[in-house]
Subunit: 158 residues, 2 copies
């Protein structure tokens, strides 16, 4: 299959994996920057009309994976695909972030829980009618969902 | 960067790109199946508690890309990254689908707008507190958002 090719880089204040918010919900108000490489900038036209964007990026500091993991917000081992752990067979990260400005290939974003220097793969506009199902059940997360925003990552991401 | 490696396959009734729903919203009730390869099945534990999952997959029939595209629901050329067009520098597809059952590595899913035989890269549980921002603006999509569910794809996906 095709190799991934970065279209830009994500910059943030997170220089190390430990201490990072585990989800955008824990990164509310945290600012960051996306720099899209020159050759892709024409693709940014019209993006500034959107308040939120979906970013896919490459977990460049993630290595290997386990099929069962104990999530940050839990004490039970869970199936990897029932968690949001970054160590995966294809180490691709997904974040929905707030978009503030787009200027000469540089996107100012908020609610960023992404490591500084992360290679960007993909930008897509967020649209609730496509991306926000209703009547949702969230399994083991139900019990811990109210406590997530304050949690921070630790060694389990490495 | 790392090469992508499929963890399974998506099966659906869509054998050709033309005639496919352009988004899950246009695929409401359309059923499909995910088969996760043997060596990854242990990662499916606990997934059945979730009603919706995020799938990333490889657009194996997509070739090349243009930085400006005329979206299905529009008549103006838009920046590629302000659209949800599948022809991209990294041809990765993202769908949020309804999960009905998980049994021996086989996921029965609904609201599927994915081509039959598509290589699966990634399964993540959908959780509104991480994935559903509020107070959203959707740029050029605002005007056309009410009409999307009936649209079908055409030659522009090829």
């Amino acid at each position: 299959m095709t190799e991934l090719k970065p279209i830009g880089l994500v910059y943030s204040s997170f220089k190390e994996l430990s201490g990072m918010p585990i989800q955008p919900a824990g990164a509310v108000g945290v600012k960051g920057t996306v720099e899209v490489f020159d050759e892709y900038r024409a693709g940014l036209k019209d993006l500034d009309g959107f308040s939120h964007i979906i970013l896919l990026y490459y977990f460049h500091r993630s290595e290997g994976f386990n099929l069962q993991v104990v999530p940050f917000m839990d004490s039970e081992p869970r199936g990897l695909f029932a968690t949001r752990a970054p160590r995966r067979p294809n180490p691709i990260g997904l974040s929905i972030v707030q978009l503030d400005t787009v200027e000469e290939g540089v996107l100012k974003i908020q609610n960023v829980g992404i490591l500084d220097g992360t290679p960007l793969l993909y930008i897509k506009p967020y649209a609730p009618e496509f991306d926000a199902p209703v009547k949702v059940r969230t399994g083991w997360l139900e019990a811990v969902r109210k406590t997530v925003s304050g949690r921070r990552s630790d060694w389990r991401f490495k």
